[in-house]
């Protein structure tokens, strides 16, 4: 193409691009005349112009993505690498398929230098194995250790969800702090995982939001037990480099290229500093560590969950260390008014510089968190009950509070020996709609959107109640009414599905007897709503469409 021709095409392209479609045709007709090739070339350019930028950007971006995750598409040992999940300080993480077991897993590659010290690697492996062996629901299990071309990798459970780091950042971006209820729920789960590990003599040493994963079901899982031992050498070295580098701060530009962001967490020393930010004072001083170091780091995580901010800030490793050793953070309650003062106090106690003044064990911390959670729940239940206008329930709850507070003032300062235990693990898409514990306390009968279930308490086993033929095509909403005293059967009301519970009437309801021994429920009566079973199990009371309360002797 001659420069003249090129200039001609460009000139016409720009002029045509400025026009509206009608004028454009006119312009091309007039300018191109009999030069059909010119017209074709300009039209081709105009046709693709809109998408051009995106196509170019995508080409660059996609190649970059594949460079970020070089193993995608390869098979390593018996794992086929499917795609890149991300990476943290400790290396890249991929989603992969275990070709032997046919399940999906996460592969985490350890930094190359960590494989060079077989002693450190063995220590890490031992620790990670023992943490994994606890089989605790709040510790992410490691299935296997592998090696590929001298690089060690871990095979872990594939989790769907986000790290706590992402959750905190997200809530900060949206200026919506974590709900206190959610915070306490996550905190108790993390504490449960930590407690189990500590009980077996395993210290994490690197508790931080990026090492805590929250699944879509809301279950918290602690990641990377033992890994801190591997990264320690690197941390110290990086920090040393950083001190010599004060005059040349590393500035990273990312995302929008227009704006420079000095982001110490992204800088070359980022790995170390991210970790340095969650170190305990004894860790910063390089002292011998015990389980209480995890408590301090956990306190920093709590602080950040409550306030969205880090308790200690610093641009460089040394200034962060200085802050951890000497500064007292602003109380969490001052930064977020939603934070109850008790929680503020709990966090402050975990952040005591002197480890003898901190909570000494996770269980001590747990007790305080649970106490707080219970009170928060009671308060919100009371609020809800009053709002719904269920005076009876309100009376019951209020009297419970009065009773418990009276008891509290009389005897010990702590509440009666209530211990909360979560019985079901339903997601918010499928909430539990009702339930009742059997008189002997062994079973929980409960309902959710999928139907009716019986759970042996203290055991993961859940048995779903078979649907009677009548209901196999749906059309029923179960409501658990009452247990028989022998704890082998209970009454359930089957309401027509799709109806608002406030409109449930005996006309569209029938009573069934469900046995914990299995089998299909047995219908007791049509057009009636069961209310209760007498203490001796001989009678039940129920309401009928005649709006009367009836008692029958059960057989």
């Amino acid at each position: 193409m001659t420069p003249e021709r090129w200039a001609q095409i460009e000139e016409l392209f720009h002029r045509a691009a400025e026009c509206d479609p009608k004028q454009r045709t006119f312009l091309l007709d007039e300018t191109c005349n009999s030069d059909l090739e010119l017209r074709r070339q300009v039209e081709v350019l105009l046709a693709g112009e809109e998408r051009a930028k995106d196509v170019l950007k995508a080409a660059v971006h996609r190649e970059m993505a594949s460079m970020s995750f070089p193993l995608v598409g390869q098979t390593i040992s018996h794992y086929r690498v499917l795609d890149g999940l991300g990476g943290g300080g400790m290396g890249l993480v991929y989603r992969a398929e275990d070709l032997r077991l046919g399940r999906q897993v996460a592969l985490k590659f350890l930094p190359e230098d960590s494989s060079k010290d077989p002693g450190a690697l063995a220590r890490f492996e031992r620790e990670a194995r023992s943490a994994s062996a606890l089989e605790h629901p709040n510790i992410c299990p490691i299935y296997e250790f592998g090696e590929q071309e001298g690089r060690s990798f871990l095979v872990m459970q594939l989790l769907q969800g986000h790290t706590l780091r992402e959750i905190i950042s997200e809530s900060e971006r949206e200026k919506r702090p974590l709900e206190i209820r959610k915070l306490l729920d996550l905190a108790l789960q993390i504490a449960a995982g930590l407690e189990a590990a500590h009980r077996h003599g395993i210290i994490h040493r690197d508790i931080k939001p990026a090492n805590i994963f929250v699944t879509q079901e809301g279950q918290a899982k602690i990641l990377d037990f033992g890994l801190a031992k591997l990264s320690r050498g690197e941390t110290a070295e990086d920090l040393k480099v950083d001190t010599t580098k004060k005059d040349a701060p590393t500035v990273v530009r990312h995302e929008n290229a227009g704006q420079m962001t000095p982001d110490p967490l992204l800088s070359r020393t980022g790995v170390a500093m991210g970790t340095a930010g969650y170190m305990s004072p004894e860790q910063a001083r390089g002292e011998k560590l015990d389980a209480r170091t995890d408590l301090f780091s956990f306190g920093l995580v709590l602080y950040e969950m409550a306030t969205g901010q880090r308790a200690f800030k610093g641009d460089t490793g040394p200034s962060l260390h200085g802050a951890i050793l000497t500064q007292i953070p602003i109380p969490a309650g001052q930064l977020n008014p939603q934070v109850p003062s008790k929680l503020s106090q709990i966090i402050a106690k975990t952040l005591e510089k002197n480890r003898n003044l901190r909570y000494q064990t996770v269980s001590e911390l747990c007790a305080d968190l649970e106490d707080l959670k219970r009170k928060a729940e009671l308060r919100s239940r009371l609020r809800r009950a009053v709002a719904v206008g269920a005076p009876v329930l309100a009376v019951v709850v209020v009297s419970t509070i009065i009773w418990s507070e009276k008891r509290q003032s009389q005897s010990t300062p702590s509440l009666p020996d209530l211990k909360l235990q979560q019985l079901t693990l339903n997601s918010s898409e499928n909430p539990v709609t009702g339930g009742a514990i059997s008189p002997d306390g062994k079973y929980l009968a409960y309902t959710d959107l999928n139907g009716m279930h019986i759970k042996l308490i203290g055991n993961e086993q859940i048995q779903s109640v078979s649907q009677p033929d009548l209901f196999t095509n749906g059309g029923v909403t179960w409501e658990i009414s009452a247990w028989f005293p022998d704890s082998t059967r209970f009454l359930a009301n089957a309401h027509s599905a799709g109806q608002n519970p406030s409109l449930w009437s005996s006309d569209d309801t029938n009573i069934w007897v469900v046995s914990v021994l299995g089998g299909v429920p047995r219908k007791l009566r049509d057009h009636a709503v069961a209310w209760s079973v007498s203490r001796d199990g001989s009678s039940i009371s129920f309401g009928t469409n005649k709006k009367t309360l009836v008692k029958v002797k059960s057989g």
Binding site: K57, R62, G87, E112, E166, V241, H254, R268
Partner: protein, 237 residues
């Protein structure tokens, strides 16, 4: 030809004047041997700050030399910048956060901050540096795409069902863009440079205008035309 395209009075110092050096070097030759022989993933871990201080002085010096018209300076500069970009890419790969993909522009900017003395900022040095770095970034990426494609063809460990995969398509994309740029370079060098600076160097319109020694409006027009033309070339391929 350059004069015909309207090179502007800064041209003595403008990137465009130097840009023809790239044309002399064949594409393979630009990439240092070391980088071509060893696959990226094997080189993932590089000790931080290797040769940091020395290359900073060296690069600043070479940029100044090049601006003075010393053509050898570019030949000496290229491998230094290339090495830094590769190292930064590897470093990023290690600590890339979840859900974030490496941005070429982030790499080029970080390389600039690391390699060029910031105490005495100089727009000429900056322009020249970004010219070289964005060009090299393009090569790093296309090199990666080609190697990946070659690996697949040679029957690397790739399961059958992935033989015609998304992965392959994406490498074609970048290879197609690269061939388009090579063709464009011959027709209109300035437009090719503008695209490199924009897409591989992440410069703003104003920065590109300064680097190429033309007006903001010209850059806008250049990019619009070049993007449309390259898109068409990529579709045709």
């Amino acid at each position: 030809m350059l004069r015909e395209l309207g090179v502007h009075e800064h041209s003595q110092a403008s990137l465009l004047d130097q840009a023809h050096f790239f044309m002399k070097i064949d594409h393979g030759g630009l990439v240092p041997r070391e980088g071509r022989d060893r696959p990226m993933r094997v080189r993932c871990i590089i000790p931080p700050f290797s040769g940091f201080m020395s290359s900073r002085h060296e690069v600043t010096h070479l940029l100044a030399e090049w601006a003075r018209g010393n053509q050898q300076a570019l030949d000496d500069l290229t491998p230094l910048v290339y090495k830094e970009l590769r190292q930064l890419a590897a470093g990023y790969l290690r600590r890339e956060r979840r859900g974030h993909t490496l941005q070429p522009t982030a790499l080029v900017h970080e390389a600039y901050l690391r390699l060029v003395d910031q105490t005495n900022p100089n727009w000429q040095n900056r322009s020249h540096f970004f010219g070289v770095a964005s060009h090299l970034m393009r090569h790093i990426l296309v090199d990666h795409a080609r190697r990946r494609r070659a690996g697949k063809r040679a029957g690397e460990k790739v399961p059958l069902e992935q033989a015609v995969s998304f992965q392959q398509e994406m490498s074609e994309d970048l290879v197609a863009l690269d061939s388009g740029l090579t063709a464009l370079e011959k027709i209109d060098l300035r437009k090719c440079k503008a695209v490199e600076l924009r897409y591989f160097g992440g410069l703003s319109m104003d920065e590109i205008a300064t680097a190429l020694g033309v007006s903001h409006v010209t850059v806008r027009r250049d990019l619009r035309m070049a993007e449309a033309w390259l898109h068409n070339q990529m579709q045709a391929e």
